[in-house]
Symmetry: D3
Subunit: 239 residues, 6 copies
């Protein structure tokens, strides 16, 4: 029995609010149960130095948790004077994943930065950031088309992500904190809307995991992500 | 005529949402028009080193803007590796102001940290942070009483703040960004619920201001803050 | 009775030494009683990036205390690896104040940096820095005229500053450390030579202050600053 | 055809030199073809703060590349003033992996730090660091037994790692830089000597990868890691 | 002919002002011609961690140049966020030199920090800092005796320092900036009052220097330092 | 009797391995007894800003110790977020010394960075870095000639360095750690192959040293360096 009474393959309730803030070209608040992440996509006309003059665009991401997103207050990274390893690792994952959604050549020399700020954390913040960030990214690309900066959106496909794990011996989908902190294995999976794999990060938390467990987690992830893509599309078509 | 069509003495519409997040002992989203600040108050049983063993408590504050709280994306301070001068100046002001609301001796050796994170900035973020932060602070103190950590709340009084300025020759209350960025003078005023002055920061933006202008701004501020205190109390009594 | 036996409206003895160091275009040691601040104004032909190509100049300031300017040695900020919030807040105030003295358009694309280094601190270092810094600034602008870099000095007016406060119930002018550390309210006032207000920073240190107390402090400040401007002009005319 | 003329399942030549430096309790130079990583394990009697008094030990790791480990000189992280995201991500992976090799309770309140410094980088530095670091770790644990600090080694099992990928459509094992920089997918796999999975990090570099491709990569990784464990054991038994 | 018209063995005019600031236990402004360094010695009752509980004291030093101590303004190290290599190298030299003046065992568990802040730099700032710092150190030790913290001063001997160099083929003593910036060789020598060598740092600026040149520089340094010690003692006996 | 049984004038066994890594233009592992330093010289076509457009080149150096180069693990400087004073002082010495080996005008607008990473430290790491670094530098310059970037090598002369000291009253050459940590005086000497002095850094560790002791140390250093130059040339001619 999961602490939340969900079935093993059941995602938490998802709520997507587009245009959450007024200024960002794409702004999405995604809520996966009690996990709430604000994803703001900003369009810029200048690319990183290594791409200057190559006619190609870039998508990057930043991630942070508000100090009191969690049960215990975490020290603010700006006050500490540096971003921690966990933060850097997560924002690198989000950025790589979102780049897989876009035809960077068709984007031209433009950069989109997706800021993912966790308002409240109840497990699965990085996967929520990817799922919500992709909607903000789609909105920002559509904004560019509307403003005449691009002829058509260079979005190749939606991507979404979910965490899966082995909790008390059973593979479960979309772990909340109560499960995550006690899981034997924790796996983050990023997929395209057509089921292509973009990223898998599987970590044994206590002892090793088996090939069979991996397969069952991947299978759960596939279902969970398909459900998320449905929600993404519903939200994008809602306007 | 103000860009927002308000009368000179009129505050923006204020919206106060208590218990905005689940984990902080006090959590308030304050909205002053389009300015939105999340104020989370966290209780800790340990005080700064200079107060250790003195039987006295402390209230401190931190302030940040999300990178895309504004029209243009600002670089994240955690990524820059330091908090800017504006940030430090503002969070020092918030902390000084909130300490004026509390009997620090009655707080005992406890510390309350009020994190003020700006979700969206349309002028007056620091004064909104003080007004909203004081509600979160009151909630956190009440939480301490409920949990048996204190016999009664050491809250001495509510404090609130508003910005006033001279816009196109006319003194106006609660400036939004359209006014703030064109004001001849910008003054932040912090007062107690009984009208005592806690802090005044008046700055000539273009040329000097006169004694008379100062007086008219202070008079506007008094009215504006009185209206804010009414809203603070309404929110605190709502539960 | 003030610890220094001064009357409430009496400034400390002021001593202004121009050309204190040989290399800076303006170099002033200002002594307000035991407070000693070295103000060096440096002329540069390049402006900050946000002003490049706009034909307009800039005045900025930096502030620091020598580690042993005070009774207790403070850790050197360069060794700590960052400037503290108090330092940044003060140097922002000095810079804003000094910019009010200069016609930035007439300055052309030049920048003047005023370094205010506190040799000894006995209260009122930031206001001494503004009063002395304005003389160094005037000297630097005159140097530019003499060197043919400007046709005439873009100095609009002298500005000066003083701290005033409520000490044992009585408003007093130009607080020294003995008063400052026990004051109920501490207010820094910056004015032009013609009495225009540039900046007011009033802070309740213990309890709130009243409108009447504010007015009496501002009145004292006016007199104190007028006396300082007399000394500024005497010094500038001395050569 | 692989650039190195290896068959798809063939590891590069591995060379393991134990006791490479004199002072570390475990010191291993591991060479996987042209990739050379020095792994030094240091024993310390003090654990991180979160473990103090819990009777449990810890294993951590640090990773760095010498500035000229690569074709182009990289700026030294100590000179930049911070470790980059890639570095932090890698050393977190190494540390997690090595902790899976040790019974931390049996280690008692001791910490082992495994420094992995890349002398030369030709692809696969993180997996080489794990494979070599585990030998250094085993040596350090044996040193603790020899010195009477532990009754028996708390090593539960050897762990080893390899990178696998899809290169020109074909799954290949133990990628060198020529392959890695052109691979369509890059997957790092960490396994125990008995075939349990510890960590999988699979990343699509260009387009998504399929479930089938993942399975074929995991199968290659299993073979590659089994071969590495044979070398680890041969080295450990050599003395 | 030297730019300053001095003879090769002639020091610049030296001026020593004791009790330059009011708060430091030792406070000396030393002027060697146009080079002016403020040396403040601060007494602390706590020693660095590596000396805790060993009954032994420590002497350390910090060095900085005010931004406009030189012809061109240097960026403030506190603003840059770190002390430069030159600064660190110099303050390590000053500290090592001053420790040679004191019996650290007799000092007990006390630390003296000598802050050397360069007000104006015309060459030889580090040697002036050592010569002036030793007087401030002596004053601070005498203060400890007067306050009953020590029975007698643990000063073993005065130490002083001078720079010597080869300027246009001729060895000269106490180089000013005009000479220093054109010298073929630059040597800093630290000696005790009885002629013992404490530190020699000789650097070829342009081509190598010969053994004979070294000997002639050391001979000049001996004379120069003897003259400085006479001035140190005159100053210390003046009270 | 020296701990190593060497005669006072005897260097440790020296081993020079050229082409130690594959990618650096010059790569030398130098071993002086148990001290092992990897010196990698990297050629770059861009010079520091202060030399841009002057047609002149530059040689610089960086120095670091691997965390476990010593008996006790030192914290990694990249993790600490800054290079320590000792590191900066040493790399400045290495860079100055190596610049004395090269005709910087003949180098053209090119920069050579010599990274000196200490694999194992048993005393004399900075002098080993200079001696080994000069070989790597020579190799890098020869590489530039071979690649047609320079007509002939701008190497003026080889330079080498050794540490000498007074150990138990006797001057000895090439101190190892056992001697170095107990020496009364420690002197690092850098010379050209023709015996010219480039740098002398003599430090009294315990009490002062005499002129005679200095002369005897310099005499030992001369012999030691001559022997090192023979080894440098042998290595360079070996290919």
């Amino acid at each position: 029995m999961r602490p939340s009474n969900r079935t093993p393959e059941q995602n938490r309730e998802i709520k997507i609010t587009r245009h959450y803030t007024d200024y960002a070209e794409g702004s999405v608040l995604i809520e996966m149960g009690n996990t709430k992440v604000l994803c703001n996509a900003s369009v810029s006309g200048s690319v990183p130095r290594f791409l200057k003059g190559k006619g190609k665009g870039w998508v990057t991401a930043e991630y942070a948790m508000l100090p009191r997103a969690t049960h215990i207050r975490n020290m603010r990274e700006a006050a500490k004077g540096k971003q921690g390893g966990r933060t850097l690792e997560i924002q690198r994952l989000i950025a790589r994943s979102l780049r897989a959604a876009v035809d960077l050549n068709a984007l031209g020399e433009n950069m989109i930065t997706v800021d993912c700020d966790v308002i409240q954390a109840d497990g699965g913040t990085r996967t929520a950031a990817i799922t919500g960030g992709c909607i903000a990214l789609a909105d920002a690309l559509n904004w560019m088309v509307k403003k005449g900066k691009l002829k058509k959106s260079p979005l190749k496909q939606m991507i979404a992500a979910v965490s899966v794990g082995i909790y008390q011996g059973t593979p479960v989908c979309d772990l909340d904190y109560a499960e995550d902190s006690n899981a034997e294995t924790d796996t983050n999976v990023v997929m395209t809307e057509s089921g292509g794999l973009i990223e898998i990060q599987a970590t044994a938390e206590d002892g090793a995991f088996s090939h069979e467990q991996l397969l069952s987690m991947l299978s759960l992830a596939k279902g969970g992500i398909e459900a998320l893509v449905v929600e993404q599309k519903k939200a994008l078509n809602a306007e």
